[in-house]
């Protein structure tokens, strides 16, 4: 392996990521540079076992990964412009096949004071469902369908 002179050994942390790997909320929180800032709020999206009374077997998530990461970063920038006490934002979305009870998305926000964290968190998940190019297919015992809240 080449080892270019001057290369930094600092850990590269992605704050906005689309991944096929299983998610851990603790791991996403640890991506925030300074978790000791005062408070951290997290939203953990979990695969549901039914929708409209139909039994879901599993979900298939698909993304336009490059644009999805870009729009996740856009949401982070929007939050920091609107809620100036929010210090950092990390959003990681898993794609591919996911079983009931698995974590599909983790949103973590840090701030010195709690007041704005929850509003910002609510905004993050609403905005994610509005602009991030990620799609969810529900697979039932008797069929499947791409779902959207729009």
């Amino acid at each position: 392996m080449p080892c270019p002179a001057g290369e930094s050994w600092e850990r590269v942390v992605k704050l906005f990521e689309v991944t096929t790997s299983p998610l851990s909320a603790d791991e996403v929180v640890s991506r925030l540079a300074n978790p000791g800032v005062g408070g951290v709020a997290t939203f953990i999206g979990v695969v549901r076992d039914s929708t409209d009374g139909r039994q879901v077997l599993h979900l298939e998530y698909e993304a336009y990964p490059e644009m999805a990461e870009q729009t996740l970063a856009q949401i982070g920038a929007e939050i920091q412009a609107r809620w100036t006490t929010v210090r950092e934002v990390a959003i990681v979305h898993r794609v591919g096949r996911q079983e009931i009870g698995e974590t599909s998305v983790v949103i973590a926000l840090s701030a010195a004071h709690r007041a704005e964290l929850f509003d910002a968190l609510h905004y993050a998940i609403d905005r994610l469902k509005e602009i991030v190019p990620i799609w969810k297919k529900e697979v039932w015992t008797d069929g499947s369908e791409w779902r959207s809240e729009q």
């Binding site: 999206g45 336009y64 994610l128 190019p133 799609w135 729009q150």
Partner: protein, 81 residues
């Protein structure tokens, strides 16, 4: 000119492709591209009303003019989370 068209989720299944190179007249807009694609792919025309377009990974309006080499994604209603 040529653009790269990318399809996702339900549109990928409708068209049967993940992506394709598509030849267009110079000066064409996103709207022109979508009309041409609807003519080339059965079942696509009825789906286009709900589709947003992204050029080079940014959402754009239908009147946006395309350039050679642009990547155009057809984005059906999203549903992450």
């Amino acid at each position: 000119m040529k653009v790269r068209v990318r399809y996702f989720a339900s549109l990928r299944e409708t068209v049967g492709l993940e992506q394709e190179e598509f030849e267009l007249a110079a000066g064409s807009s996103v709207e022109h591209l979508l009309a041409a694609l609807a003519g080339a792919h059965r079942g696509l025309d009825t789906r286009l009303a709900a589709v947003r377009a992204a050029v080079n990974r940014c959402y754009v309006s239908m009147g946006t003019l395309l350039k050679d080499g642009d990547e155009v994604a057809l984005v059906p209603p999203v549903g992450g989370g």
